[in-house]
């Protein structure tokens, strides 16, 4: 059924064999492990919840804690990191078209260092995916199903996501298209329903403690924006790359706006207390009371949010599965999906030790950890790629002058 007869696009990706400069041994590692193709718009739809689904839960509280009443600006600052991640992804894709980060790193820094680099990701991705799954589980158990075992909540979601991932990138892309549309509409609905309760005067005091807390606070949204690096893994699957930069910029603007609006609503509604709640957005949703009957709609919010987290977990599981398959030089990623999903499930228990829950994990140091792997490492690879390109250019010039 899937990976059908239409546009496989293999002809378009073929030139890579001639363009890649060296380290082209081991032909298996250059093939993509999934034959499916997605459009640029679908990619944008996949990335939006991949960043926002967990960000809207945690970012308002963390940023309020550090940046105080200026927290609404932190996503705008943080989006610079997103810009960098998009730049690196698109740049790498232009230099090494048709290769994901795991494959291009081997071409850039050589086989052994490249494989080591890939190994870092293979070790990091279950950690991140496990964290996302755990956050999902904690949220549902806290707010909707208090006596359901965590294992069941997380397990059912992982099973569904694993099926989604096994069906290929095309299915992941389409489910995101459907679900994200719903997500945006309903998220906008909560915000519209809350307008009456807001107090815009909470914008002030402006820069109460100077500009430093603003930057400290911005590390949290920055960590989420660094997840834009998923593009480096997904761009090779895009069938037509005419407007990639424009579409991705649009996606970045949309994500930043959504995050800023979420922060503003929490600030205007809950004010100084924003950082005292585990999930401030949930408090905001519970606060909706219109005309004495439109209330208790938080379960609707949870239902919609599950769509978002479904796309997010799927995207990260997909990247984890394809990266692993690419690293081991497999031809197809499908056999590894189920075992790796199970691994992520196990990680969901390992990432949180003790009973303090997820809130302690999503702290400042955790953000730096995420940023360093999702942004700084790819940036280094990209830097090396540039140096190599420059060096090759210089050598060519020298050869021609000699």
């Amino acid at each position: 059924m899937y990976g059908g007869v239409h546009h496989r696009g293999t002809n378009r990706t073929r030139p890579i064999y001639t363009q890649a400069t060296n380290a082209t041994k081991g032909a298996g590692s250059h093939m993509l492990t999934d034959k499916g193709k997605i459009s640029e718009t679908q990619l944008a739809f996949m990335v939006f919840p991949a960043i926002l689904a967990t960000a809207i839960l945690s970012v308002p509280g963390i940023t309020m804690h550090y940046a105080g009443h200026d927290m609404w600006m932190t996503p705008i600052l943080g989006s610079l990191v997103g810009l960098a991640a998009i730049g690196i992804s698109i740049g790498l894709d232009r230099m090494y078209p048709g290769k994901t980060l795991i494959q291009s790193s081997v071409s850039i820094v050589g086989r052994i260092p490249g494989k080591l680099f890939g190994l870092i990701y293979i070790a990091f991705l279950p950690h991140l995916t496990g964290l996302i799954i755990r956050e999902y589980g904690e949220f549902i158990v806290n707010n909707a199903l208090p006596s359901t075992p965590l294992f069941v909540v997380m397990g059912t979601m992982v099973v569904v996501c694993a099926i989604n991932v096994r069906l290929g990138i095309e299915v992941v892309g389409r489910t995101s298209q459907v679900f994200v549309t719903l997500l945006i509409v309903l998220l906008a609905l909560i915000f519209i329903l809350l307008i009456g309760e807001l107090n815009p005067a909470e914008l002030f005091p402006f820069m109460e403690k100077g500009p430093i807390p603003l930057f400290t606070g911005a590390t949290a949204p920055a960590a989420w924006f660094s997840e834009y690096i998923v593009l480096a893994f997904l761009l090779p699957y895009v069938n037509q790359k005419k407007r990639t930069t424009r579409v991705m910029m649009g996606s970045l603007v949309l994500t930043t706006t959504a995050m800023t609006v979420t922060n503003l609503f929490c600030l205007f509604l809950i004010g100084d207390l924003t950082d005292t709640f585990v999930f401030p957005v949930m408090i905001a949703a519970r606060y909706i009371t219109i005309a004495d009957f439109l209330q208790h709609i938080e379960s609707l919010i949870i239902a919609v949010w599950i769509f978002g987290i479904f796309v997010k977990i799927s995207v990260f599981l997909y990247i984890f599965a394809t990266s692993t398959a690419e690293w081991f030089g497999l031809k197809d990623y499908k056999p590894v999906v189920v075992p790796l999903s199970f691994l992520c499930m196990v990680f969901a228990y390992w990432v949180v030790s003790g009973g303090s829950g997820i809130s302690s994990l999503v702290s400042a140091s955790a953000n730096l950890y995420t940023i360093s792997i999702l942004l700084i490492l790819p940036a280094m690879i990209y830097g090396v790629a540039w140096l190599k390109k420059g060096w090759a250019h210089v050598r060519k010039n020298r050869a021609s002058t000699d």
């Binding site: 806290n142 707010n143 199903l145 208090p146 006596s147 359901t148 075992p149 069941v152 059912t156 005067a201 002030f204 005091p205 402006f206 820069m207 109460e208 403690k209 809950i270 004010g271 100084d272 207390l273 005292t276 709640f277 408090i283 519970r286 606060y287 009371t289 004495d292 209330q295 208790h296």
Partner: protein
Amino acid sequence: MRICRVLLLPILSCVLLSGCWDRIEINDLAIVLATGIDYEEGKVQLTSQIFVPRKAGGGDSSGSGGSPSGVTMIRTAEGRTIAEALNRLQRKVPRNMFWGHCEVIIISEQAGKRGIREYIDFFLRYPQFREHAYVFSSEKAAKDILALLDPLERSSAESLREMANLKLGTRVTALELAKSIEGPSSSAILSRMLVLPPEPDQDKLTTTPYVKGLSLYNKDRYVKTVKEPMSVGVLLLAKELNNIIMPVEFKPLEGSFSIRLIEIKTALKPRIVNQHWSMKVDIQTNGEVVLNTTDANLTDPAVLTKLEQEWSAKLTSLAYDAIDLSQKELRSDFFKFAVEFRRYYPKQWKKQEKNWETLYPELDVEVKVDAHVVRTGKSTGPQGIPNEDET
């Protein structure tokens, strides 16, 4: 092989379907409509008003006939902390208590004297409580108010909620109460509820709770009750004044005018000049004359101007009284001046934050009222004056 697969499917489904862990039937729930907190002899008393579905459902009213509504009942339990009381309360109710519909919280002044921090934490932490629940204060025990069976509404919780929506006193939700107490002003103003004495031939529970006065909280403790006319001034400065008819009289006219408030805007304008802190309160208001017992004709611009001046003067003096009470007598910032200073002068505020308690009573406050009578009702001239020109 195919049969195996077909069989496997329902078997696997059973694994998932077996546990609907959180399934609680609606008739296993005791829906709490309102909560009351009292404090007596060192113990917290938690009272819940529980909805009785059987009585609400049937249209047959030929039963006891004693209580016209009678769809609620109350249960009370006590404990050293509110959580302990909650635990004991559940033992007195055969169904699983559900607090998600609790729209009203009443804290008695007795409980307020001991501090309400514990209760606020509980309301914002216990998962089922709604942050939008309205909080009231009561003079006597909160459980007496919850026990009432309002003849007009389904329950006394409903009548309390309607009263909050009418904005007869302050309309404070649990979240707003927490914000107010944890904010820089660390104070709160709650509406004070009393029990209306029932009609002589009625059951003593068949009556309505009603709003009378305000309970003032400094830090998290109840400090004072204010009644009219002081409460009008307090509401005026707290930006909560609504729904009021005020008599205004002035010489040389006999009788008085009564003015109904249409619209009121209170703006707080903090100012710091040369280390001197002052607050300017700007009140703009529109009103409508609903009663004129004087002989004066309101079409006369001179009378109207005079009336507006007198009304302004009356509002101004009410506001100054309230400020005196807050600054001199109670020395606590009920009107959230601190919030305004923090907003407009964050740097100076940061320096003086710790001294606010000593700074506030010395603060210069200037009140400026701009009152307008924009309507005079259906009539222009005075009505109902017996014809005196005959002689």
